[in-house]
Amino acid sequence: MRTLMGYIAGLLFGLGLAISGMTDPARVLGFLDIAGRWDPTLMFVLGGAVVTTFIGYRLVFKRLKPLWGDAFQLPTRQDLDAKLLGGAALFGIGWGLSGYCPGPAIASIGGLTLPLFAMLIAMVLGWFAARRLSAS
């Protein structure tokens, strides 16, 4: 049952990314290009997603635990550190260069191109590198 719930969540997420146009790097870069012909689409996507999740989480957290799990697994840290902010900065540069963040990059596999394939491989290697850096 947990695997089916995961699939439904992924499917909703993939449909959302595709319908909103986030599987098009031009839409994302158009939003980030505030000095050019600005494309507001991503603002509506993020706004719609955050407000829906804000309301949804409040309803969900009225329960003591998830339907198929022992407990809600939420991050507890509150402090800002160099790893968080430095990581976010590196991610932002990569996002600005490509127009892909991890979700749209993976969701776009159905229209796979060589540059996207290269990005996905590099992203996975990057995750391994970050794990090694964190451990040391």
Partner: protein, 153 residues
């Protein structure tokens, strides 16, 4: 302004929010793509991998479903009927971008979904700070690429 594109953005955003709500309600997990997939490929956590695999399959099948329906629900700039857009650069640039996105989301514990959607919805201070930093750096990068190096495209 392209109101159809904005409306589709809003509808898609609401679907992403429903996905995040669904994953928390059923499995108690944050719908952060870099966390779900990154932990799957680097650690293959025992007893905690199957739902991650099916989540990824769902993520990929969403756009495929729209393609099978003819692509009318896609929102690619200037290409009606297309669901997935073209990459913005060649292999070399995408390799560089991929490493930065992988290392950055790995060290920073999240991406646009984990920090940007779920974290902001939880009013998490760390996520609000991270989202501000990656949005700012992405805007700055696009400015440099398009208007300083590229001379204004």
């Amino acid at each position: 302004m392209d109101w159809t594109a904005s409306l589709q953005g809003l509808i898609g955003g609401i679907l992403i929010g429903l996905s995040a709500t669904w994953l928390m309600a059923t499995l108690g997990r944050i719908a952060g793509i870099s966390g779900i997939v990154g932990n799957l490929v680097t650690q293959r956590p025992k007893g905690d991998s199957a739902w991650r695999v099916t989540f990824v399959l769902g993520l990929i099948s969403g756009p495929l479903l729209l393609m099978a329906l003819g692509g009318d629900l896609g929102n690619v700039v200037g290409r009606p009927g297309a669901v997935v857009g073209e990459p913005a650069g060649g292999v070399a640039m995408m390799l560089l971008a991929g490493v930065l996105v992988g290392v950055g989301t790995g060290l920073g514990s999240g991406c646009t979904s984990g920090h940007g959607v779920c974290g902001l919805a939880r009013l998490s201070q760390r996520s609000i700070a991270a989202t501000g930093v990656f949005l700012g750096c992405a805007i700055f990068t696009v400015y440099i690429v398009r208007h300083v190096v590229g001379g204004g495209v």
